[in-house]
Symmetry: C2
Subunit: 408 residues, 2 copies
Amino acid sequence: MALIVQKYGGTSVGNPDRIRNVAGRIAKFHGEGHQLVVVVSAMSGETNRLIALAKELTPTPDPRELDVVVSTGEQVTIGLLAMALQAAGVPAKSYTGGQVKILTDDAHTKARILGIDDAAIRSDLSEGKVVIVAGFQGVDVGGNITTLGRGGSDTTGVALAAALKADECQIYTDVDGVYTTDPRVVPEARKLDVITFEEMLEMASLGSKVLQIRSVEFAGKYKVKLRVLSSFEEEGQGTLITVEENKNMEQPVISGIAFNRDEAKITIQGVPDQPGIAYQILGPVADANIDVDMIIQNSGHGGTADFSFTVARADLDKTIGVLDRVKTVINARGIESDKTLCKVSIVGVGMRSHPGVAAKMFRTLSEEGINILMISTSEIKISVVVEEKYLELAVRVLHKAFDLDRLA
Amino acid sequence: MALIVQKYGGTSVGNPDRIRNVAGRIAKFHGEGHQLVVVVSAMSGETNRLIALAKELTPTPDPRELDVVVSTGEQVTIGLLAMALQAAGVPAKSYTGGQVKILTDDAHTKARILGIDDAAIRSDLSEGKVVIVAGFQGVDVGGNITTLGRGGSDTTGVALAAALKADECQIYTDVDGVYTTDPRVVPEARKLDVITFEEMLEMASLGSKVLQIRSVEFAGKYKVKLRVLSSFEEEGQGTLITVEENKNMEQPVISGIAFNRDEAKITIQGVPDQPGIAYQILGPVADANIDVDMIIQNSGHGGTADFSFTVARADLDKTIGVLDRVKTVINARGIESDKTLCKVSIVGVGMRSHPGVAAKMFRTLSEEGINILMISTSEIKISVVVEEKYLELAVRVLHKAFDLDRLA
């Protein structure tokens, strides 16, 4: 008998039929003797409908009141799922975030969990009840309803699993696990049975949308065994996300390939090659709330250098506006930008013990005539910026070069 | 400067535009220096949508979980109204029933209010904020969400007005007040400026649907000044419902005419004329949860009598089923029933001091050839049962006979 936290996303509970299916799946686990805490999202489309209502009233709704409105989406789902379970003969009880209670800070629409009172849940579990908790929401010390931000239901699930010391936290989605890369780009992409938290974090931050990145961080920090599964398939073990690297079998060098089309590159030419220049350029950019990703400074000749960095495409115009002012101050020669770029990354803890991974990546791309414009590396990841038109080709040849299409 | 509780029904907040209109009305009152507590219902159609979702899962949803689901309707409205007010420059803060908190018993889907904690509301009011409270809902001692049953938002408004000792409780609806009778039946029907609680209760129990009867009882008990107004008209004083009879002007004899088509009459013939017979007949009917309205027993000849009573039409077949068994026990001759009847009632505190009102009513009906089948009276009401085909005629001639179409 295990204590399992399960989280079902909006698509999995998108209509009464699907809620009934989820109830059937829970009933099966319950019948096997497991203790179950189930976290649910709003029915798909519901959160957007509620936000649209608010935006009809004002383009900038008060965050406290927006949380009051938006949090009803999950509240509807918990009640419906509880009644579906009871109708199936399974004792169940629903809790809003406030009822649990899931205490958060007061940063409305993006609150952080401070603590979870597990007394009521433990009492219900010991009575054999399935406990159903609204994801994505909590309550601050003043009793105000808060929400954790988009995808926050994953975080609720992981936080509950940590608080309850659950044996496993299962995240049910509309995909059956984490893939070596997007199967729409590489049909040979393969589901991974296991991936480490570090790899998952890199994959998530690079644009793989299976799990919300905060929930992965949280699970890693509290050593919660996390599993991604499909709610539409009866069988299948999904992908287990673990703290430990797999020591039993040959570690693959690369676990996955992530990519991101949303890249724009800016180069400031003829920057004086002197200390403090990076801060003079990036300080004003950060002040304008623009996230900078890769940064490259080429020491040049004649005491000047070229300074390049990438931002999200939506931020490009704003960034250029900031730099137009900076340019005069630092006496740079000019500004160039390019928004037809993308980023391709290979991720894997195996590269720690395998030298030559970067060289293999660069050679593979070079053989296809793909020019690398920027490079950035971490301990378990190598990212390159290339022209967007090469994205599919680059992912495909790398997938093959690192043997990702073969069974591990 | 007054402390006013305003309640807006589902039609008044049925879409973002209407919510914005309500916000404008509230802003006007706030600008005049009044302290405002605003109770809102779910947007029209929302409660039915939520109930339908539940019924798709099970025909008999668990009442606790149904309350979790249904209470989200009002929660959405309070958040939207608060942000609309803030967008209009009016400080506002929303409260769910649980946040207030409005303590109820644990009779889910039909809970009764036990008490209201007014501390937070008073604090917000003193800071100049408009306080917005979700109608229809509360919380039991265990922190479970409860609802007060259909129309419960009126009760929330009156209960808040009583707890806060508000100067007035204004109920905004889609009609501009209480009328002498239904204007669809009598075009000359006139809006009443004032009506007493007793009269309003009689009108409500007889089928006038302007206010929920529990809220009127509650207002009468706690001496809350209640006013019914239209949320779609800028001007207009609506109808004031008061404890005091109007002593300043000539009291009209009759304030209004109510009617109800939903009547069925049952007669048990040849009942032994002996003590305890009424209980022998009506005891089993009450045990079957059937509400009996009017009751008449005609002492007959030869030691037998005819015993008649009325029930709602939907209960007729069930009632006859019960009486078929009773008939044998008490040795009655037979059972007759008629479901083509209606009830017409004249209501007015003035009839206390005016003898001859009943006689005038009966003469008026007789002059039109309308046969009276049953009569029942209270201190301020006379009801007659007549054939349903005479309903409109009866209401019209009584309206005219008692001068209701003339300005008071």
